[in-house]
Symmetry: C2
Subunit: 427 residues, 2 copies
């Protein structure tokens, strides 16, 4: 017998891009990990089930963060006066070195996961470091916390400090070990193939990773077209390949298995076509792209081309783990992009960005990010009563006010795949 | 006898643009409302004074918000899918109408002031509404709270809904009454002449306000060059005048008395020259300028021209009352501006933005925003111990981390002009 229950409250979510579904004082029937239905009036057949009544609170889907770096959590808010490449050298690489130490890793990773929990991020796609053991630890901690995640051991064998380089063989062997051990270990936490990005991975390594992805049928995540100096470096490294995307593509890492590429700011037309064809996901990281002076991705254009897009914090190129912060920054830069594009790329609305931060990214996890029937029940209970509300607000306005002026203090409960998740332990 | 005391802690502030002054475990000697000195070692002659030891906490100057609209506080985070002119019509004007009701005004204004207090804004330049009585109320509430403020009764006699228009005579009479009653009433709270902006003020009204400013020797605040459609509207209204700034200038409202102009995004060269010559302050409002799709002000360029610049939240075109949020947004848009300007307008650093948000805007209030000798002692005590710090950080990094990842929870005490300020009352 599945555990069945009902949550009641002011339900708001997006089934389609930019369009809210609203059930004021509505009901979500949950069976096991899935939504069995969402209703304005509770159907008779469910009348025996236990109702968790959240009163005036908002009930929204949990947030999905399509791209972040757990080991960079200690650097949150630091070093943001730098561009990508010097930032990597002076802040990121020296920090990532420390994750050979599992004591340190346990402290930071458990704090990172607590922070995700606090801010209502129920699913994440996360980079760890090159270190096999602490990558496993990160997966174990996610599983213990009850949050959903794809976690990648990072692969890198060139163009980084010696202390962060692996041999190609080591890199492949360790990745393989991880896949074998963790591919079926947890239901909500899975491994993902994670070449850092082209500059730090030889083509040989990329190709072997592509083979691994296919062999084990696991997804792939990496970075693409973030910063102009990075792109010209890639061109220099691979002069015979057409563009940045084609390096991944030639290596079998560009959509043969489900794939996420973070950033995608300076894409060439050929690259966009390839992404459309191969259904590659874009992880849009507005904060990080601003902070590191990278630019503004043309999300409107990519949406119009039919690409799969989710939002992401990119901790710690982004300074916040909060997905509502990612929504706010996305809105802002989309308006600046609209000006920059001579008013052709229409700004992204709050409703569109809410979709991208829930169902848009959730699609990478399967049926996640919505309260439609058959979706995994990931939800946040939002108490907005402290948000300086002086006038009656519509449901849309309440959500908008939470997104723009709320924070972790407003999130009262979190559910992942039908289970209420308590505050994860700090080690 | 003046009240004298010492605060001890990790002191950081900016005397010059972009350069931190750091006194780790240092001492600030306060006498009455003024800083008498800041020291690494306490001079013998002060050894008898009471020391308030804030231990490991950071001690920074209070924040100065050069531009916000108190009556728009209920709209915080709402309506941000719109541009300036439709946003005014559908959100702002209908809200401002309500401030004929002093019961409503008292509730909102006291909440607004509490919110400033919470977020460490010790001085503000604030727009009220056209309503004389509730503008007085706002000044009384600021004074009761102990925060510093310039508060303006808004003037508008055209191009707005009937319910927000005054006759020219009414507008002048009410402003005059306010000036007479409040110019010397409080030490920290003062009136300021506040024509909303050119579109809503006839030239006759502007000219009379210019005369009032000179007669009573009070400062002036308004909006300038925010949005392209606003600018073309101003051109249409005043076809014979050279540009937007010259309308204010011809009316005697552009630096004859100390003047702040909010936004200043699309300034013409002549306007910049006039601002330099007349020492007009710029209130930079990055959030609002992004939210309302207005654009990015060339702050780097204006700094290089020697203009006085402060940061501002522009509640509720901006979605946050927090000045650290204004710093973060300013940094981000300055990086996008750097890209937009083909890498000529260098990004603003955290240290530069910290200066603008303290001493830069503080200059409008006199000697405010620094811990140099003779400055009014406005200070915040920052406890950053909950900010996920895993490694030893320099003082600069601690400040940066607070700015990027902290919030009101980290602010433990606030001082204004030498006095500790308790949480203001909510009516």
């Amino acid at each position: 017998m599945q555990d069945e229950f009902i949550v009641k409250g002011n339900i708001i979510f997006t089934k389609d891009l930019g369009k809210y579904e609203i059930f004021e004082n509505g009901y979500i029937v949950v069976g096991g990990k899935l939504v069995k239905g969402v209703f304005k009036e509770l159907p008779e057949k469910f009348s025996e089930l236990k109702i968790l009544d959240y009163g005036h609170a908002l009930i929204i889907p949990g947030f999905v963060d399509l791209h972040s770096h757990a080991p960079q959590f200690p650097n949150l808010g630091l070093g943001l006066d730098k561009e990508l490449m010097p930032w990597l050298d002076s802040y990121t690489f020296p920090e990532e070195k420390k994750y050979s130490d599992s004591g340190y890793a346990k402290k930071v990773y458990s704090a990172f996961i607590r922070s995700l929990w606090k801010h209502g991020t129920t699913r994440s796609c996360v980079f760890a470091t090159i270190h096999k053991n602490t990558t496993k630890l990160l997966m174990d901690l996610f599983a213990e916390a009850g949050l959903g995640a794809y976690v990648g051991k990072v692969n890198m064998n060139r163009n980084a400090p010696e202390y962060l380089l692996e041999s190609t063989e080591e890199s492949i062997d360790n990745t393989k070990e991880l896949l074998e051990e963790y591919d079926h270990k947890y239901e909500l936490v899975k491994p993902i193939i994670t070449p850092r990005f082209v500059p730090t991975c030889s083509f040989e390594l990329l190709k072997s990773l592509g083979e691994l992805a296919k062999k084990y049928n696991v997804p792939v995540q990496s970075h693409l077209s973030e910063n102009l100096s990075e792109i010209s470096f890639v061109k220099k490294l691979h002069p015979k390949l057409k563009n940045y995307a084609s390096v991944y593509d030639e290596a079998g890492l560009f959509g043969d298995c489900p794939t996420i590429m973070a950033h995608c700011i300076w894409l060439e037309e050929d690259e966009i076509e390839l992404m459309v064809k191969n259904e590659v996901f874009v992880a849009h990281c507005p904060n990080s792209n601003g902070n590191l002076s990278s630019g503004i991705a043309s999300i409107r254009k990519l949406l119009e081309r039919g690409l799969n897009i989710g939002l992401a914090t990119d901790v710690s190129g982004g300074y916040s783990v909060s997905m509502i912060n990612a929504i706010v920054s996305s809105a802002m830069v989309s308006k600046l992009k609209w000006l920059e594009s001579n008013r052709t790329d229409k700004p992204l609305t709050t409703a569109e960005l809410f979709y991208l931060s829930t169902k848009g990214g959730g699609k990478f996890f399967g049926k996640v990010g919505s309260f439609e029937e058959g979706y995994e029940f990931d939800a946040l209970i939002i108490d907005d009563s402290n948000l300086s509300i002086f006038n009656p607000l519509s449901m849309e306005e309440r959500l908008e006010k939470f997104i723009y002026t709320g924070d972790d203090r407003n999130i009262k409960e979190r559910y992942v795949a039908g289970k209420k998740i308590e505050e994860p332990k700090q080690y």
